[in-house]
């Protein structure tokens, strides 16, 4: 059921992720294996979302909640343990050979650290022209034109003055612009950016965020932004998904999620973000302890050991994603779903 990429239904999602799971097996001794002990890091535990063509979603959450692992699966850098990733009508999880190469041209990942993204011995031109060579752009003038265009688009002007520079001759902000240019040089339709500005000083972050926003709009790019910093996601994304221990616990239009969070974890997270307004009196929702290990996940709602509202059921049943209307979903029994869970429970017991 491969749908051709010429169908450009604006409403249809370009990317749809269904029940994505990634477990990293822990390599233990032989004895453990013999005993059938299959411990694993449960990095991603059933993530589902979709993004329309030209849309943007932000994945936020604390360190280790599975943001980067999710992004890497979207780009086929990690094989999912299970689940589907439908890109323009095609499940990319099973792509191979030429089809996979074609996908790689349409989808790009922008990494966090600009200094590690480039070989220090290559000129900027060489680093940017390489993807074009790999993807068979044969005409040299065409390659130069596209490198020039990409640099120009990310506001490195005059673009040709950067061709022969080496990474160490650029500031962190300029280098991060080159990272962006490199992910745009193949004119992709989809871009995932993992902590795109976290290495940069705040004074220069805004410039690159603005450029990313402009380019995404101009090219009708579909984007997934990953950041632990919700203010960045607030600035860039129409949809926000909050992750906790490898699951999306709340999702919806960004303003709604940030201004009126529903899930207890989202509420706690947002209430603790410092605000540059000393006059403002904040009420924070304190939660205890740290994030539990992703090796032995808590039962039921994985947030229950820290949740100030935890009920009996939370320990026993996994809250299903509930539709709150207006595009919002939440996984929490405070908003219902107990009956559904009972059904699931009964069915499981019957089976």
């Amino acid at each position: 059921m491969a749908v051709s990429s010429v169908t450009t239904n604006e409403r249809a999602p370009l990317l749809e992720v269904r029940d994505l799971v990634k477990h990293f097996p822990l390599r233990r001794g032989m004895l453990a294996n013999l005993a059938g002990d299959s411990e694993a890091v449960h990095a991603v535990n059933g993530v589902s979302f979709s993004v329309r063509r030209g849309g943007s979603i932000g994945l936020a959450g604390e360190s280790g909640c599975g943001k980067s692992t999710t992004a890497k699966m979207l780009l086929r850098l990690f094989e999912p343990t299970s689940g589907q990733i439908i890109f323009d009508g095609q499940d990319i999880v099973t792509l191979k050979g030429a089809d996979l190469k074609a996908f790689r041209r349409r989808a790009q990942l922008m990494f966090q650290n600009p200094y590690e993204s480039f070989s220090p011995r290559f000129t900027i031109f060489r680093s940017l022209v390489e993807p074009l060579l790999i993807h068979g752009v044969k005409d040299a003038d065409e390659r130069t034109r596209r490198v020039w265009q990409a640099l120009n688009d990310v506001n490195l002007q005059p673009a040709e003055s950067f061709f022969q520079k080496f990474p160490h001759q650029l500031s962190g902000g300029q280098l991060q612009r080159v990272v962006l240019a490199r992910s745009l040089v193949l004119e992709p339709e989809f871009l995932a950016a993992d902590e795109p500005v976290s290495m940069l000083d705040v004074s220069v972050r805004a410039g690159i965020l603005n450029t990313m926003k402009e380019q995404a709009a101009q090219r009708n790019l579909t984007t997934v932004y990953i950041s632990h910093d919700l203010s960045l996601i607030q600035y860039l994304c129409e949809t926000t998904a909050i992750m906790y221990l490898g699951q999306i616990v709340e999702m919806g239009p960004t303003a709604g999620v940030i201004n009126e969070p529903q899930h207890p974890y989202t509420k706690a997270l947002i209430s603790t973000i410092p605000i540059p307004e000393p006059e403002r009196k904040k009420t924070t929702i304190p939660i205890e302890g740290g994030v539990p290990s992703a090796i032995s996940l808590p039962s039921g709602c994985t947030f229950h050991p820290r949740c100030p509202f935890a009920m009996d059921i939370c320990e026993r049943k996994v809250p299903p994603p509930l539709d709150l209307g207006q595009g919002r979903t939440v996984r929490c029994f405070l908003y219902g779903g107990k009956n559904e869970a009972d059904e699931v429970g009964k069915n499981a017991a019957a089976a």
């Binding site: 965020l209 203010s231 607030q234 973000i273 410092p274 605000i275």
Partner: protein
């Protein structure tokens, strides 16, 4: 009777590093004070000299670094002229430090409690029983359960390790703690817990803190005073509330545009394009002149002194008298693009 002196009074402090390219003026004539119980936020972008300032105060500079001038009066003694022996007696007991990325500095092979006890016995001269009691007290103070004293560092989360290091800094009841980016590597929820610990210390023990950070939101939430550093200089110093309400220095005006605010999202964030000057050969005039949209001729020849712009509030800018107009212009993205 003499006027009460501030706990710390730094005057025209200079710190230099010898490098292959020449002398680097990492801290170039800064002055500030810290009162008893006050929390001073020292902010500025990477490389502006924050850590250098903190290390100079304790005289624990790297080998190629030295105090090149100025005075650091702490309880009316000039730390610059104290002997190394006197300094040793003062470290931990009167001034202590939570070093940058310190949660990774705990020794992985020793129990956290043993590392804490070592400070108490070797530096504080306590016997083992005293040290054990005090350790439990300190863990309690920073919000750690005392039954975790026997854990190894790897059994702690990042936030717990950070709190253990803070407990160490507090071990011998110092008057002043220099906390260098104590929450930078932490997630917001844990960051909040650690910052609460600092606020608590101020309320309960009246400890003074120099909080080094690049995050003005952290300063807004935890400090009384702020000092903004840029390229080895203090550009603005003010009570925190005043700084956020009425900033004077163009760099501060730029920072406020560049910082996102979750509670009040901005339509557009604006960068201060460019980068700080080379401190081996600092530019003539104002150090911010290469990135400042308001620079005039004078800014390239004459260095602006840090002067009082309103009571208790100082800024170093030739055009401070025109600040109302500059504040308006600073809100426009075009203003800042004109420099790049």
């Amino acid at each position: 009777m003499s006027v009460p002196q501030p706990l710390l009074d730094v005057r025209d402090l200079r710190v230099e590093y010898s490098t292959r390219r020449g002398t680097m003026h990492a801290v170039d004539g800064i002055s500030f004070t810290v009162e008893k119980g006050q929390h001073l936020g020292l902010i500025g972008e990477s490389g502006c000299g924050k850590t250098t300032t903190g290390r100079a105060l304790l005289r624990v500079l790297p080998r190629n670094g030295r105090v090149g001038g100025g005075q650091m009066f702490f309880k009316e003694r000039d730390l610059v002229t104290l002997s190394e022996r006197e300094m040793r007696a003062l470290r931990w007991r009167e001034i202590s430090m939570v070093p940058q990325s310190s949660m990774d500095t705990l020794d992985p092979v020793y129990r956290v409690g043993d590392q804490l006890r070592e400070v108490l016995t070797l530096r504080g001269g306590m016997n083992n029983a005293e040290a054990r009691a005090r350790s439990a007290e300190l863990f309690d103070l920073v919000g750690l359960a005392s039954d975790r004293l026997d854990n190894y560092p790897h059994e702690f989360s990042g936030g717990m390790r950070q709190r253990a290091v803070i407990a160490m800094a507090l071990a011998l009841n110092p008057d002043l703690v220099i906390a260098d980016e104590p929450v930078t590597a932490l997630d917001v929820i844990v960051q909040h817990q650690v910052l609460e610990t600092f606020r608590d210390l101020q309320e309960r023990l009246g400890i003074s803190v120099i909080m080094i950070t690049h995050d003005i939101s952290v300063v807004a939430e935890t400090c009384d005073e702020i000092a903004v550093m840029y390229a080895g200089k203090i550009m603005e110093r003010a009570p925190v509330r005043r700084f956020f309400a009425m900033p004077f220095h163009p760099y501060a005006l730029g920072l406020q545009n560049a910082f996102p605010n979750l509670a009040r999202p901005k339509e557009t964030l604006i960068s201060i394009e460019g980068y700080p000057p080379d401190l081996v050969e600092p530019p003539k005039g104002c150090r911010f002149n290469t990135r400042c949209p308001f620079a005039i001729e004078r800014c390239f020849v004459e260095e602006p002194p840090l002067i009082e712009v309103e009571p208790g509030h100082q800024a170093a800018c030739h055009r401070w008298r025109e600040v109302e107009q500059l504040r308006e212009q600073a809100k426009e993205a075009e203003t800042w693009q004109s420099v790049a």
